[in-house]
Symmetry: D2
Subunit: 402 residues, 4 copies
């Protein structure tokens, strides 16, 4: 590697890989079967909680916490990126290590901006994996790439704020453990463009919080977390629940983006590595037209192209992580935008090749491939389609060159 | 157009388009909602049967029947291809017009090879849309592109055949109306390679027919039809149920392929047209960064590329259909293999662009896009991955040139 | 085929194919060798004139002339497109049949708008292949896709027009037989946008016509025709030399575009067919790693993909030609824009694959591949890059759909 | 960056960049013009020798020499890779810094295996840039990817070797300064497969060395170096001219490959950076349809995609260079094969986009784009087409995974 991980990170990586082999992969089917047979899919499979305990016990817990906070393992973004890749290989893994979105982002926001009381009430149980949280930002009527355009209203009324909003893609909202939401909306529609928005903490059982429906991703409901459309109807919370201060919502949102994209992209690369591994294994087991698939040149071409793509996307993502470590997320804007485009594409390409090799098993529940594909495809949409990021990259490039 | 449709086909096309507008699109959501709320998803939404009656009444029924058979509307493959495109625009449409797979292929087999008794028992109710059927060919352990390799056993025992098989991707098996299966398997494992396989009729309520589980396609269960893994455990049927004769299975399978692929490919093109239509409509409604999406050059590029791809794939498919009409399916082998590669690819490209433009709505149940995508992706696998067809095309091309 | 050619066209096609086999391909190397050894490359190899005589004698001459004109063979655009494909297989062919650009377009302009005197002086010798002509439209400082933007001045002065212009990509200007140019420029800069431009006939030996330099295309000088930068310095011609009338230049330019693009695109498809043929032949002759290249799956994939792409591009182009025949070039605008994008791309893809298979021979003068590639790449630029055509296609598509 | 260059390398990089700006780019046209006007193109433009003196004087000379040799600047492969990128931006640059192929590879072979006498006679003048050299390996009848298959004969006859060979793509053979060739051929056709080949030094003025013709790359003759077909007809050289020993030819060839590919790939990336820079500059100067090209979204998309591709290819190449430094070329085989596929592809993509933006100027001699394109295309063929490298990558990947 061009740059070594820290020794701590290497050690954690080894332990994670071992944990995945011993506990995660063997339980993927069980989790799916539990949900398949459950009357109500919005229930946590017991094995999930057992695995969480085991991960906690082994110290593979809350690895995401940035260096500057208490409880952090002291990992840099560059270090943690490698761990994200490992976790990304299984769709059930991030939750087991308490490293799943949007909880990680929400926890970091609470670490940064929460009062002691808020931390006690929500950050601690989140860090212990006892409750789950929601991040309510995206709105059905607004292009998600344009955060300044969010329409939700957060209106001050005496000692309270009154929230009226129609949000969707609030991930985790159907989880029975969901206890708290961070909602983004306008406190001052007349303020300067980047000062109109605020973020506020909304206890999930507050009257007026209405989970309207769950949203599928391709045909997946992503139970038991799920993605929800939530209507906030005259929801009242104490004025202290505002985060960082009125008009600071855009700033908080921006701060989440950089590291969050590193995590997403490295997970996507992990999914690609898993797909390539499955592809090769399958190709070694199947025969067609008189020889093993793995002996065929066309199949080898698929393997080689996948390896080339994965290596490049991983290097690009690690470079972005490293730049955040060294110069901060703002300086790394171009790099972060680049991985947002490059990594999910590569992941989709590799997974698609694996699907091709698996045939029917590849699109069905018999492999994790189709679900990984659906996730990677969705990642291309989350916080803006490729076009938006390409625009940003070009703008920065042109500015540097001209 | 390079070649005009027959006047009858044009008339039917207009009527189909009108029917789609008036009855199909407006009911897509209702069908989905019915299933979403149903306790048991393997139940036919009443609106489906109502629409079938309406289609029958309007003469938009069994349009697939080839010229040479009774009840046929006299359409050529070239003519019918255009109608398939229209039906392919909605996932619920083919069933409404009694033109869905695998029933169409099964009906044609019965028309061709069925005895009068078999026709009475199964063909007639199939043609009336009263029962549904299954085609059990693919096996989990066998590359689906290599039909000679199928392992199921169909063993003669006195006046009966005893079937032992493990089949999957038996579409329609979970439909409560499913009444008959055509099963492919080996009657003589020692015969010459293309004479080992036979096809046999298996009433679906015969003891030993066990629907093990349903298979998802990218998370979609495709209720209420579904795709099943079926185990045939010592299933006994009268010897008369053999189709065409022992050792003729491969031949029957081949005969289905050509027209079947035309249908699949034209439906995939219909799905692409629908996606492009939705894309343009959406782009005309949404704004981002100060102007309508439809005004943006990058979006226009997506539209233009889609149009170029669709036109080419449609022409190629129509050319294949026309060649089947004029020279027969065998002479059109190369053309048929080409569309199997080209049409689903184009469909995937166009649908993917539409998903990009719709963002979250594109991957969710709020548009038919993700499900169309999943179907088109699966079409690339059905009867062999692209590699297999590319091999065939090259073999024929090389043979012609050298 | 979806639509048959006329019997006359079929006959001509057969004769052309035979002529190519007997006279064109065997002389490609000789032409190149002649020029390689010539002290002055801007000289016509004698074999060219011999072959022209032979083609004329066999009636394979001026096949491009549209039906409505005298001397026409009565071919439709659809018919002639097939012949263009054949000629496009060799870079020296079009000239041999007196069907090369820009002479064909220039002859058509003269047929349409020339006076009897002009026809006698320039059209007749052009049709006999005795002189050659130039079309001076593009300017170095102006995006070639935007014809309204051309800056050349054509100023009336008494009974003369005075032309001042800096033109480039004037193909054929270095040919020693070049005798006449059609120059486009502004007669009235203050007129309505599409009425500012005119076209005028400029005898090539008029004082002030200065061929500044020749332009290479990927290192090729395209001798003995060449592409030139020409400066027109106070060039005076009689006022009668104006074509069709002042302000009609844009209209004439538009009229050339449709059929011209059909010709270019079909020639590009012919080049692709030639490349595929060479690829297969080479792959059948070469061995690597223990077997013939033609036996390898990856190579077969290249062959199959090429066949799929060529078929589609040809169908699209033929459809455009047919639409021009049936509804006119204006109605076929979208189709014409589509082929301008699709056909050269396919040609580039297929030729590139052939280069890959030929290795060193593929990029060198030992095959016509690299030069065909350079031409096809240039075709993507001629009258505007892809982006411009994609814009037009999208505009027309959106207009139809919304 | 993930890994910093050494301070020396950074310093040299800065100096190189400055030299390029001051002396290389401004003289590109002059060199071309000199050759254009020369009666004989196989003559060295005087400005080349002047620039060489200047480079030598500034210490920008022989930067390629690996650490372990005398005169080396002590640069690692990782360090030198960055300098190659800078030099690769101009086609005339590598020669100026005495870092052009095949001289660098030949010098390294002489450093490693040459006797003192050979070093004095050929290495010293090569290092001073006084003579040039040829590497004669590839043969017209043999797939260049399969070095074991080379047919040239090097037969021992008393105290001499007699060489009979037909070689091509011997770069530099037309250079008037060419003084020495390294020829690969079989000394023992019956030996074990990898021991049949040897390399031998052949003074270029030895009787029997016949430069048959030069080979073009697309239409470029690459004067004054050129690529030649050379026939070695009973060429006799002293037995001491054998390099390393009989049967060691394959081993020497392998040793050249790793670092050589790093150089080629980094130069290709340099060409891509140059193309992107030209593209942006041009887009900032041109207008079409009412705004600067650089303002258009489609153009920005091209810029962003180029940046994403370049970054990834550079990281991959640097990673390969670093692995050679740390673990040796053999351990880095997969990485080296990957860059051979990835880097020229990216270079072609970016240059092609620049050509699209430049239009006619892009394919002509008015920009270096088309020639860079031709070179990058050729790089995809040099020592084997992509398919061969993809095979190798897959083989290594499968070996690691299974």
């Amino acid at each position: 590697m061009l740059k070594e991980m820290s020794n701590d990170a290497k050690q954690l990586q080894n332990e994670l890989v071992e944990f995945m082999d011993n506990y995660i992969y063997p339980n993927e089917i069980e989790v799916e079967k539990f949900l398949e047979e459950a009357e109500n899919r919005w229930v946590i499979p017991p094995v999930i909680e057992e695995l969480k305990d085991k991960a906690k016990e082994k110290g593979l817990w809350n690895l995401f916490i940035p260096k500057e906070y208490e409880y952090s393992k002291g990992l840099s973004n560059y270090d943690y990126a490698h761990l994200c890749e490992v976790m990304g290989r299984s769709l059930i893994a991030p939750e087991i290590f308490n490293c799943n979105a949007p909880d990680t982002g929400n926890m970091e926001v609470l670490m940064k901006y929460g009062t002691d009381a808020q931390k006690k009430k929500w950050l601690e149980p989140l860090m212990e994996g006892k409750i789950r949280s929601v991040f309510s930002m995206t709105e059905p009527q607004v292009a998600s790439s344009d955060a300044t355009n969010i329409q939700a209203s957060i209106a001050r009324d005496g000692d309270e704020y009154v929230i009226n909003a129609r949000k969707w893609w609030s991930t985790g909202a159907l989880d029975p453990r969901c206890d708290i939401a961070i909602v983004m909306g306008k406190t001052d529609p007349d303020a300067e463009r980047y000062r109109q928005q605020s973020m506020i903490l909304v206890p999930f059982n507050t009257p007026g919080v209405e989970v309207k429906r769950h949203l599928n991703v391709f045909g997946y409901d992503h139970a038991p977390q799920g993605h929800a459309e939530i209507h906030y109807n005259n929801v009242r919370v104490p004025k202290e629940n505002i985060l960082l201060g009125e008009g600071r919502g855009f700033e908080i949102a921006q701060g989440r983006l950089g590291p969050g994209r590193i995590h997403h992209c490295m997970r996507a690369i992990g999914a690609a590595e898993r797909a390539l591994e499955l592809l090769i294994k399958r190709a070694n087991e199947r025969e067609a037209f008189g020889s093993k698939l793995v002996e065929k040149d066309t199949l080898r071409q698929m393997i080689a192209e996948s390896r080339i793509e994965i290596e490049q996307a991983r290097l690009l993502t690690l470079q972005a992580a490293n730049k955040i470590d060294q110069e901060g997320a703002k300086a790394a804007r171009k790099e972060i935008a680049m991985i947002k485009v490059a990594a999910p594409r590569v992941s989709l390409n590799v997974i698609d090749r694996a699907i091709e090799v698996f045939g029917g098993a590849g699109v069905s529940q018999d492999t994790p491939l189709a679900e990984h594909y659906a996730n990677a495809r969705t990642l291309r949409i989350v916080d803006g389609p490729d076009q938006v990021h390409l625009r940003d990259i070009a703008k920065l490039e042109i500015r540097e060159q001209l």
